[in-house]
Subunit: 306 residues, 2 copies
């Protein structure tokens, strides 16, 4: 049975994402303590793949995931999923809102339901835990009255939901990646995302040159983020996500150009996009047009002129 590591503990958002990305009936799911530990299990061949969060629309990117993919032996993403960040409030059976004196969760989760707490549990004191799953355990053990958890925490628990589907930002989402060692790249679906990490020379204009290579070929950027490299002060690593698949000629030609001109380019995967539709390639950048242009060039080089 294939083994899939994920950022644990059990019954958190990452387990929920993992159950979407792989069939739990045919895969063994193994919680890891940290993102780095989950990725290390893949690198050491102790698991076949790992699921890690990469980006949250409220909290921003997940630096341990970005750094974990940029450094160490190469890993590539083969799939992504996007989960809405909606929380459930779990209490012991029979507990009413008026009975709740303490509410507990990971500080990030408490921060994301602050408006709901102010309106619904204004007198409850906040207690921090190291995960949303640990919050449910604290309530089950009686050390707190209410836990802010992932929806999955309610499953198979003796606790009941006081409220569900809460969260201050209605459309907050977290994106998760399924990563493994490099191998076959998933086939293009027509709506794909490609992720890369680029290190450029440290001089004015070096990043604009990277983006021009993409723009010239009609490639639409979805996300960009600079992270300092730890090796050398002032040298940045850029994480870029864009629409398209490495199998497409426009993307392949752009990646080759970056490989020629940047200090370092690492391919982090091309896979089906889970968060919306990509626009079609602009005129002049589609696969048929690249093929036709290559044929034309061959002809002209051979002395022909159509």
């Amino acid at each position: 049975m294939p083994r899939i590591a994920y950022l644990g503990p059990e019954r958190t958002f990452t387990e929920q994402a993992t159950r979407r990305l792989v069939d739990p009936a045919t895969h063994e799911l193994i919680p890891a303590t940290t993102v780095a530990a989950a990725l290390e299990l893949v690198r050491l061949d102790k698991v076949d793949a790992a699921v890690v969060p990469v980006e949250n629309s409220v909290e921003g990117s997940v630096p341990p995931t970005l750094d974990g993919l940029a450094l160490g032996s190469p890993l590539v993403a083969i799939a992504e999923t996007v989960l809405p960040v909606r929380f459930t409030v779990l209490v012991r059976p029979g507990t009413k809102a008026a009975d709740v004196r303490t509410v507990t969760s990971h500080p990030h989760a408490l921060a994301q339901v602050r408006e709901w707490l102010a309106a619904n549990l204004p007198n409850a004191a906040e207690l921090a835990t190291t995960s949303t799953a640990a919050a449910a355990v604290a309530v089950a053990e009686g050390t707190a009255d209410a836990a802010i958890t992932a929806p999955i925490a309610a499953e198979g628990s003796a606790l009941t939901a006081l409220a569900a589907d809460i969260g201050d930002v209605a459309d907050a989402v977290t994106r998760f990646l399924l990563v493994r060692k490099p191998g076959l790249v998933p086939a293009p679906t027509g709506n794909d995302r490609t992720s890369i990490v680029v290190v450029t020379e440290n001089r004015p204009g070096s990043l604009s040159e990277v983006l021009v290579e993409l723009a010239l070929r009609g490639i639409d950027l979805c996300r960009i983020e600079s992270r300092p490299t730890r090796e050398k002060l002032g040298i940045y690593r850029f994480f870029l996500d864009f629409a398209g698949h490495i199998a497409e000629p426009r993307v392949g030609e752009a990646l080759s150009a970056l490989h020629r001109t940047c200090s370092d380019v690492r391919f982090l995967g091309s896979f089906a996009r889970a968060d919306g539709d990509s626009p079609p390639p602009p005129p002049g950048t589609g696969t048929a047009e690249f093929t036709e242009a290559a044929q034309w060039l061959t002809q002209v080089r051979a002395g022909g002129q159509a």
Copy 2:
């Protein structure tokens, strides 16, 4: 006495940064519960300025600060400071490492000293708190044996340091901004940073055009990050930090160009840079060269030709 809000509670890294940015003898320091609350106090004229964290080299950017500056009525940064992220381990007097059964802090702080804990307190159970300052309180009250805190937490406390200057990443730093309502821009120092937020049209190449406007004028980018706008799916806001001051002609001309060509540009401040030296403007982009070029153009327009 001028009033300065900061992300509280007291005795955390942000208070430490605030004491570097303003003289505590001549300013009243007011802790706020969240970044949003600190910024709101400035907008409502309840304080003169606020200190908030903007970027951590390990944990990444601080989204509430970025979003809080991009939205709402304009605020600008007038100064920055960079603090090393080094933690102190506080215990009750007489406690030895062998006595520590529980160690407590904000989960972010626990995550940043994990290697030290594994080597030095391998058997201590981790308890989460909502801040590093709350961890010190928990140890003082006897609900935990050791607290991972900011160095400032030791000051005036009955606790003693079991270890100081710990942290898994030796050169980790956090950058803090002093922000206030728009007014006078600090004078250029020759080593300045300018921060802006830009919203562009959503089409391939729009960001590369922004960066080309900077690159053409020899402006060196320090940091870039995209954040989704909440208003409309697929529309991104770009946070850019670059070397230079709005008073310099190269920066002024670039900002004017962005104002002409982007959907929205918000100036977040020009101030003395605290994290290293900026390179001088490349040939052709210095203030003297801009002045000379303007004189030349005036002359040619008037029919002269030098």
